[in-house]
Amino acid sequence: MKNVHLNRAFGPTPPCIRTAIERGFERGERRMRTRYRLRTARLAAAAMLVVCVLAFTAIRALRPTPDRVQYAQGTTPQPLTAVNFTSDEKGIIETPFISADDVATVRTLPSEEETQTIVLVQPEVAVAGASATGEEFTEMPETAAEVMPDTESADVTYASKEPAAGAEEVDISDTNEQIAEVIPTAEPLPQPSEPTNVQISAALPTAEPLSVDEASAGTLLFSVEEMIFNDDYGFLLLRCSFDSGDWMQVSSELPADAAFVFSSGVSIAEISPALEKMLAHSFGSNNGLRFAQTAVPEVLLPDGTRPLAMRIIEGENGAQEMMLAYNPDPKHNIPEYVNINLYLNGFLVNDAGECLAAYSEPIPLEPTDSGAFSATGEPATDAHGAYAQSIPVEVPVTRVRGGEAAKSGISHYWISGFGDWLLFHMKQDYSSSDEELQKTLEGSFILTLADGTEMTLPITCMNVAREDDSEFWQVSALLSADECRTGDPAICRVTTMDGEFSLSEMLETEAPLSLALEMARLTEIGGESIPLPTPEPMPVSEQTETASDRPTAEFSTSAEADGPTAEFETGN
């Protein structure tokens, strides 16, 4: 073997070996770069996860504990007639919102597990105490936060106070059963089916089923299951058994003999003594409420949403009030309520003249068999005949002298009376913008009365309405008959084809009216008239037709176009 040179067996290194070395090196480099990128991405993801966990933990730490939140929104507290705190007793005010001065919820200590819920309903029971931090207070705090500004479970020691007259003393360390024995009449309010509005304190006694007026037609027995008084807004919310989950709202501004009109069934009933007593406590003297029925129209709020609930309240003088419940916070399903004080044909207008809602069709208000909307079943005896006049009276107008309004494409005028109000409607194609239409129509509603007095009716409402797949501006101006009553009766009279009528007379008339109105502003401007179909007389019984069925008027150029006034005549 010595003489054998094995390295002769191998020739020179072929070039493919060098290439293989280079390729192997390149592959290694690529793999390392990929690994580096993956590692960097994993590190970034891990860092982000850590940040998220920390943020979540911080948020949870800042939020109230679930027990507190659940309690604040959920459990219905036990109502008590009186509670007297003895010295050295400790409790935690749990109620986050105390709208009434006499309502609070206290959780007793020292046992953290045994929580005690007590509601104070007697305003005579004052509470004084001091928080664990030494902060003293002599009145029931409005919110727990005032007592425990930065703590979650600060102890509150209540000083002893003299009990209210006739109030029984309750040891807040007692159990719920003991409390129930102390106040046998107090029954737990039922848990509402819908989430409770946490801003409203529920501390009113449960009402007995409302009594029934046997003599009244269509009497419906129902009971008030829950009452909630919102002191901040002056609302009384009643949840009635006849319509589960349905709430009836009572305004504290109602007159004493206000009638309630709501949607479910023919319901004529008197308020129960308990409710009456409560109302008397809340609103002063209030001798009975009357309930009547009406159909609920299709109502859209200005933002296009539908209200959750709607209540029409018929006031003493026949004025209509409608209350809409809408839900500004769908996530928590907490309704809020809007007072609408005027209900007129197609519009809902509040006291300030702001249009709150509009609907394209008149709301059919039909009298009951008893002849009126009166809850007692008696014919309407309102001084102004308000109940009997609750049917919209629609007055077709035959002629109008066009002006700027005509040029802007107004196609319809009609006038309707409702209650003590006279409503002037205009419709225009939706092509015009809000500002343009407002500018065009400003001052157009001028009513020239028989004695020559001109009454400029401010535009109170402008809304887009749908009708027959078309969109229109609905513009209205309101004239209150009350204004006329306070002044010279002569100015309240308007000329019609049938003579002169006062507004009240006009509104009481059951036949279609023919009004001769003078729209001075339009006449001064002049312009072309707009021909419209000849209107048909509209009987009262047909006045609940849809807006599309409404008789229309024909505009024709008057021979007296240069005159200061123009007459509107019915097709009759």
Binding site: N3, L6, N7, A9, G11, P14, C16, I21, M32
Partner: protein
């Protein structure tokens, strides 16, 4: 070890890598594949090399493993006739008879012969490379010499 140093060290032992791989494999293309894979794995796993002085031994160990992988793969795959002819025909620069005699030996004999008589590795180092007892390497080397002697004798090219 950065990329430049690694590449430099690999190129320094390029010839050796070729010869060792050629001692196991019977054509240059397989040698190139094995070397490429060995260089790639060496670069990826260079952090596992604790002492750089053993880089060459460490890389040859990787190469031997890759060569055996190539052998296993080629044993499963059918070998084209052209490859057999190419393997049977050494390049002009090679000592054809010696090459044929060497190729006729089993792979385990070829490897110890090349490592010891061509690359000059001592028996202990070879034993470490092949993870075999030194005595076995010594015995295998003796048997390899005898086998090569017989092969060359049969070709009548043996020079005493």
């Amino acid at each position: 070890m950065d990329d430049a140093v690694y590449m430099q060290k690999v190129l320094a032992c390029e010839r050796r890598l070729y010869r060792i791989s050629r001692a196991i494999l019977k054509n240059d293309q397989d040698c190139a594949d094995a070397i490429q894979e060995a260089v790639f794995k060496g670069w990826i796993g260079r952090s596992k090399l604790r002492e750089e002085q053993y880089f060459e031994t460490w890389l040859i160990r990787i190469l031997i493993n890759e060569c055996k992988n190539v052998l296993r793969r080629s044993a499963k795959a059918p070998v084209p006739v052209e490859d057999v002819r190419a393997k049977a025909a050494p390049s002009p620069e090679e000592n054809a008879e010696l090459r044929l005699a060497l190729d006729s030996l089993p792979e385990k004999y070829r490897l110890v012969l090349v490592l010891h008589h061509v690359e000059g590795y001592p028996l202990r180092e070879i034993a470490r490379l092949l993870k075999l007892p030194e005595s076995l390497v010594k015995s295998r080397l003796h048997q390899a010499r005898s086998a090569l002697k017989k092969a060359l004798a049969s070709m009548e090219v043996y020079e005493s």
